[in-house]
């Protein structure tokens, strides 16, 4: 059974169709990268998958359960109550801009959702959070506030915060785009280490070498459609004109 299935998704903003009939699938432990030029609909795709955006057509399934769909009359439907909650609890999202809570300490950023939303005992939550921070190399920053962290540190905290809720699939929305070039390395290293743990990941990124190296599956999107799709080697060696144009621009 697939972890996530998106079927024939469409999405328009003000009459402009940014996602045109896209389907994709993510299996347990699989790493999927979505690459493509700016404005190709990659991030919107991710926001639809995490239910931050509604969809205009299609269906989204998590763990074999339908969690978003469009009725024949055009209205979009989420399941009610517990079923929606369950769907939400299977995924986490790491934002481009981290979106840490500035009024919470690093530790509380991680612990508060565990205690408040997952009802974990506080002591247990703190222990888990400290373990995660240690794995991120940030154990000494537990009492710091987000404003005292570098971009790379902030993003690592955000990753720890997402991991703490034990998601089965973790989405990354251009996780290194807001960082200075010298800080991207530390974040990519952390993401790589997660792949070894066999957590499923969906990564929207501009880091081509990184995507090539880490992905089981790669999707190249352009103008709201999947242009090329396949294993890492297949995609990066494909002879697609649009892809060539895209890589050509990246090199300059």
């Amino acid at each position: 059974m697939a972890l996530l299935e998106m079927k024939h998704i469409r999405k328009s903003f003000d009459g402009l169709e940014v996602i045109r009939d896209i389907s994709l699938q993510v299996d347990q432990g699989e790493v999927l990268s979505i690459i493509g030029p700016s404005g190709s609909g990659k991030s919107t795709m991710l926001r639809c998958a995490t239910m931050l955006e509604t969809i205009d057509a299609g269906e989204i399934w998590y763990l074999g359960e339908k969690t978003a769909w469009v009725e024949p009359d055009g209205t979009m439907v989420y399941p009610k109550g517990e079923r929606l909650k369950k769907a939400h609890s299977c995924f986490g999202l790491v934002f481009q801009n981290f979106n840490l809570f500035p009024h919470f300490s690093v530790l509380k950023n991680i612990v508060d959702p565990m205690v408040h939303n997952q009802k974990k005992p506080k002591a247990e939550a703190v222990k888990e959070a400290m373990d995660l921070l240690g794995r991120m190399g940030l154990a000494d920053k537990a009492d710091a506030y987000p404003c005292q962290l570098s971009g790379g540190q902030s993003q690592r905290v955000a990753i720890a915060r997402a991991l703490a809720l034990n998601p089965q699939v973790l989405f990354f929305d251009e996780p290194t785009s807001a960082l200075d070039p010298e800080l991207t390395g530390e974040v990519l290293k952390v993401i790589r280490s997660l792949a070894e743990l066999h957590i499923a990941m969906v990564i929207v990124t501009h880091e081509m070498n990184f995507a090539k190296e880490i992905s089981d599956h790669v999707i190249f999107m352009d103008k709201g459609m999947i242009e090329v799709e396949g294993s890492s080697e297949e995609v990066f060696s494909a002879k697609n004109d649009r892809m060539k144009a895209f890589f050509g621009k990246l090199e300059h």
């Binding site: 995924f91 801009n97 809570f101 500035p102 009024h103 959702p113 997952q118 809720l165």
Partner: protein
Amino acid sequence: MSFQVMMQQLGSGLLRSIHIFALTLLFSLPLGLLVSFGRMSKNRIIRSIVWIYISVMRGTPLMLQLLAVYFGPFYIGGLKLGTMWRFTAIIIAFSVNYAAYFAEIYRSGIESMPPGQYEAARILGYSRTSTFFRIILPQVIKRILPSVTNEVITLVKDTSLAFSLAYAEMFTIAKQIAAKETSFMPFLAAALFYYVFNAIVAFGMERIEKSLNYYT
């Protein structure tokens, strides 16, 4: 009248002023939050009603509102006003007036919050209510505190308007003593009382601001 009696009288007036001040804040701060929700409501009717309410409250003198709240039930509704109504009317008029100002301050603070905070909270499983009270409101409070301080200090001075409903707060007492003594001294004393009152309020607000300075 001896200096001591004058100070005692002004002091009792000050207590009445503080009474108005404290009750007004107690009611208008939460009410303002509620009004700001109405102002930002998706329902067009609620939004318009609240818009009208805010514009009337900010567009007419507080003294007029005091008279309207106090005498309105009698002259419009033909209802007899009990003895308790005088003070109640003052607190209602002040609270309803200040809630309008606070609502606009809350609104500006809430609207200045980046959408990413809501999105992160949603992904992390916070309900809408917890998102607001745990994530958004604490940050909003920090952002709006300087504007709130301004209003609170204005409120200290506005308490003297309660005289239009014959409520003997400090400024009224000062005027009465001044009339009796044919002297301006009581006004000086009253000014000093107001200044000290405001200095304490400003100090308290500054302490709160500082206590929120641990993050930016």
